[in-house]
């Protein structure tokens, strides 16, 4: 079905079920319990999961397949965000034109940058993309925001003002981003016992778009084009001497991943109509690299997992402050309590980066294939036990 093999289809099915049931899965603790702060099933965070999932899926098409490490992908995310908000300002709050424009503009922008940066490979390519992204950031932050020509609204960030034209806006439409009248903020709350589950329109729209993106990524991975991209990573010399021009292949991969990033940026604006220059900063570019490597570069589902994990840390671990720690360790004798909190404190709250950094180091050292490799090893361990019982040796499946 859908032109996929059974294995890919089941992978797509699992991802579809997980994303559709996310409001339940991410909300395992009752609202009143002490663990409720670990719940991630609220619209804001769930939207981030799938949007950054899209960003990472696209980044992986470039980095995972061709091995070209772009350090400037946040530029496309930012361009997508600005394009979408401009559509809000000019046409009205329907998200479709904004999302469409963000894909087109970021694609063109990626084409321009790709033509220049792909003249080099390896570290030089990375540095070139980084330079372009920082230039874009500088442009967005100050140059393109002057009274005569205000494209980005600088530090404040681009947003919709009351005197914007919004040609297609009418009084019966919500005054916030919407899809043909369905507000992105519309949330259906369902209370079940001690639990409260939230079903948000914006999340479901983003989730469906992510599934489409994921599906397209699978098709690209399995296509002759995907094979050529893996050939680029494996041995460019052989590729050139096999009569293949690697440049257009890498450029196509760069543009496709730029469009994914632009789409993610457009969706960020669609759920929250404010586009700031900080989305283009190098830390944002670095974040998607971390996501992809953490989850498993070159695998299909890894980057989505990586994106989820990082966003979870960013939003959940950062909430744990000193008073929360006191409530956790209150049962300990006073001196010991203070001691434990002193040790734990640097790793939570504002120090969540420290925990993330440690996890990243552990993954890179012990699981170079990312979380996916960890999963595969565990799976093999179980299957190995079963197989040895049956008297057969375990077969190792090729990594996807």
């Amino acid at each position: 079905m859908f032109g996929l093999t059974k294995k890919d289809l089941s992978l797509l099915g699992i991802v579809a079920i997980l994303t559709m049931a996310a409001p339940f899965i991410l909300n395992p603790f009752p609202t009143e319990s002490a663990m409720a702060q670990f719940n991630a099933g609220y619209p804001d965070l769930m939207q981030k999961f799938v949007i950054f999932g899209i960003f990472a899926i696209g980044f992986n098409i470039l980095f995972g397949l061709t091995g070209y490490l772009s350090f400037g992908h946040a530029a496309f995310l930012g361009v997508g965000s600005y394009s979408c908000v401009w559509m809000f300002k000019l046409l009205g709050y329907n998200v479709l034109p904004g999302i469409a424009l963000s894909i087109v503009v970021s694609g063109l922008f990626a084409l321009l940058i790709g033509v220049i940066t792909l003249r080099r490979s390896g570290i030089y390519f990375s540095i070139l993309t980084l330079a372009f992204a920082q230039m874009s950031f500088a442009l967005a932050y100050s140059v393109l925001s002057n009274p005569k020509f205000n494209l980005t609204n600088g530090e404040t960030g681009l947003q919709v003002y009351a005197d914007d034209p919004q040609w297609f806006h009418s009084a019966n439409l919500p005054d916030l981003p919407h899809l043909f009248g369905l507000s992105m903020r519309a949330t259906h709350r369902m209370t079940l016992g001690g639990w409260e589950f939230q079903f948000n329109a914006g999340y479901y729209m983003c989730a469906i778009i992510m599934l489409v993106c994921f599906y397209l990524a699978i098709r690209i991975f399995r296509s002759p084009f995907g094979l050529m991209l893996r050939a680029v990573k494996s041995n460019q010399q052989r590729m050139n001497y096999t009569g293949l021009n690697s440049r257009p292949y890498t450029l196509a991969a760069f543009v496709i991943s730029g469009m994914y990033a632009g789409l993610a940026g457009g969706l960020l604006s669609a759920v929250d109509p404010l586009a700031g220059a900080e989305r283009m900063q190098w830390t944002a570019s670095g974040e998607v690299v971390l996501m992809t490597i953490l989850g498993g570069a070159g695998t299909l589902i890894g980057p989505v997992l990586g994106a989820g994990l990082i966003k979870y840390f960013e939003n959940i671990f950062s909430k744990i402050n000193e008073s929360v720690l006191h409530s956790w360790f209150g049962f300990l004798p006073d001196g010991l309590e203070d001691f434990v909190i002193t040790i734990v404190y640097p790793f939570v709250g504002k120090g969540w980066h420290l925990t993330l950094g440690l996890i990243f180091m552990l993954v890179v050292i012990f699981l170079p294939g990312g979380l996916i490799e960890g999963g595969q090893r565990i799976g093999r361990l179980f299957r190995g036990k079963k197989a040895s019982k049956a008297g057969k040796s375990a077969t190792t499946e090729p990594a996807e």
Binding site: G3, L4, T5, L216, R219, I220, R222, S223, P224, F225, G226, L227, M228, R230, A231, K233, S234, N235, Q237, R238, M239, N240, Y241, T242, G243, L244, N245, P248, Y249, A252, I256, P398
Partner: protein, 253 residues
């Protein structure tokens, strides 16, 4: 008029004259060996043929067309395939995928955006690749990653990929360098078989005299960047100039 015509090619690296007035004509469907001591300019000449280097002066014509100024992939698409000294294959892909890449390159040219259909549904490519693996005795290694193959198998893989492109000229750069005697003999047999089965021209650069004299129909001896002499293997063996320049030190078997 040969399929490959090299005329008055000069190449200089700084103060070093790597190639000086090289003239070479490779006849169609022949096996032509280029031999010479270390530093004679064999590899430089080969690199000039495949577009990696551009000669300072002179011309290189393949089948009546100049190859100068063309990129390696363009020259390959003209019908020249190159086998490297150390096998250059796609190490982290499987044997079958390696083969399919070569088949796609032959069918679709230097670039084709074919990003949605599954590669396994390209029946003609899959069949051709399988057939090729079959004929090169690589079929049972189909799903193996090529990086973990033996040196001899890698060499066979590389030659198989080149052949699947149906080249008119196959360039081999010391194909048996670093191989054990048994692997060397296998490679010689393989090349002989290829020569018998196909209309293909082979140009081979080689150090190993055993390989050269078992395969070549004509031999060019290169010394200090200039062809000393070109003749049949029998004549080359006894040629005094060649003995002096090259074979003198190492007795010919």
């Amino acid at each position: 008029m040969g399929i490959l015509e090299v005329k008055n090619v000069n190449k200089r690296f700084g103060g070093l004259q790597a190639l000086g007035d090289v003239n070479l004509s490779v006849a169609e469907n022949s096996c032509h060996a280029i031999i010479g001591p270390n530093g004679a300019g064999k590899s430089t000449l080969l690199n000039c043929l495949v577009g990696k280097l551009i000669p300072d002066t002179g011309s290189v014509m393949f089948d009546g067309q100049s190859v100068l100024g063309r990129k390696p992939y363009e020259i390959n698409q003209m019908g020249i395939s190159r086998v490297f000294q150390t096998p250059e294959i796609f190490g982290d892909l499987t044997v079958m995928e390696n083969m399919m890449i070569a088949c796609f390159a032959q069918r679709d040219g230097a670039f084709k955006m074919h990003a949605i259909g599954s590669m396994w549904k390209e029946k003609d490519i899959v069949e051709k690749a399988e057939h090729m693996l079959e004929s090169m005795n690589l079929a049972e290694k189909r799903d193996m990653h090529t990086a973990s193959m033996s040196r001899g198998d890698k060499r066979r893989m590389e030659i198989a990929m080149c052949l699947s492109q149906e080249p008119r000229l196959l360039l081999l750069d010391e194909p048996t360098a670093g191989m054990a005697r048994a692997d060397t003999n296998n490679t010689i047999d393989l090349l002989k078989k290829i020569k018998e089965e196909r209309d293909i021209t082979i140009a081979i650069i080689e150090h190993d005299m055993h390989v050269v004299f078992s395969l070549a129909e004509r031999i060019t001896v290169l010394a200090q960047g200039t062809p000393l002499v070109e003749d049949t293997p029998e004549k080359i063996k006894g040629h005094p100039k060649v003995r002096e320049a090259y074979l003198g030190e190492a007795q010919v078997a």
